[in-house]
């Protein structure tokens, strides 16, 4: 008797959980930027490499400190010997 009551309740709860999970995936709470909404993202200031001089300086400091010259964009080892 107890089991026969528990089963539909468990199924209903499972269904409710699934629905909640689905609504979480499809709701507008998630930031889905459509192609036509990328005005701000396409802005110049959104490019982290917009200042080549600053990037070069930062990389110089980083690679000197880490002894990993060539570790980012140059082919070869990361031992600092090239």
């Amino acid at each position: 008797m107890k089991n026969s009551l528990l089963r539909p309740v468990a199924i209903a709860l499972t269904g409710l959980l699934c629905l909640l999970a689905c609504s979480g995936c499809t709701s507008s709470n998630l930031a889905r930027v459509k192609p036509w909404e990328r005005t701000a993202l396409a802005d110049y200031t959104m490019n982290p490499g917009r200042d080549p001089l600053a990037t070069t300086a930062a990389e110089h400091v980083y690679f000197s400190r880490e002894a990993s010259a060539g570790g980012r964009a140059v082919g070869g080892s990361g031992c600092g010997c090239n």
């Binding site: 499972t14 699934c18 689905c22 609504s23 499809t26 459509k34 802005d43």
Partner: protein, 183 residues
């Protein structure tokens, strides 16, 4: 004792199967409900006249229409405009209409872009993103080629210079060669 144990195990397997089937059904339902309505090849393109576009729309009835969605912040869009201008010059007399629809939110950026490139074809703005949302444009820019019957015959995502130009011309020639629909 062993038989009772088997019965319990079978019942447990049945319950699990029920739960999994139900969960899959709900997931499928969620996916179907959330699927966006999009305009793709073979679909009828929404009426431009009732889309609330800003600007003057040329006569498109019974013509081959190239609808391009663009934005001032989109670099390939800038590259595409001279190609569309050439297409406009070459094919307008034979029944092609080029309509470039901007999705710019900033009217000043839109105006500056138009002023700089000074396109010879129709340029409009989808200020409220009504049409672009309805069509569900997959990328920027996206170009729809619409046949004389109002159905989408080709769709080009992005603009890849001469490659896209060549593909567009081939398809436009085919569509222009097709006879106009009977009234």
């Amino acid at each position: 004792m062993a038989a009772a144990r088997n019965d319990i195990l079978k019942a447990g397997a049945g319950n699990r199967r029920d739960y999994i089937t139900f969960a899959l059904f709900v997931l499928f339902l969620g996916l179907v409900v959330s699927a966006p309505a999009e305009t793709r090849v073979g679909d009828a393109f929404p009426a431009l006249e009732s889309a609330g576009l800003e600007g003057r729309l040329p006569e498109t009835a019974g013509r081959v229409v190239l609808v391009d969605f663009w934005a001032s912040w989109c670099a390939p869009c800038r590259v595409s405009f001279p190609h569309y201008a050439k297409l406009h010059a070459d094919c307008t007399s034979r029944g092609l209409v080029v309509v470039a629809i901007s999705v710019d939110e900033d009217p000043a950026a839109y105006a500056a872009f138009v002023k700089k490139l000074n396109p010879p074809f129709a340029v409009l703005r989808d200020r409220d993103h009504t049409l672009v949302r309805q069509v569900d444009v997959p990328a920027m820019p996206t170009c729809f080629l619409i046949a004389r019957d109002g159905h989408v015959r080709a769709l080009y995502q992005g603009f890849h210079g001469n490659e896209t130009d060549r593909a567009l011309r081939e398809e436009i020639e085919k569509l222009l060669a097709a006879s106009p629909p009977s009234p």
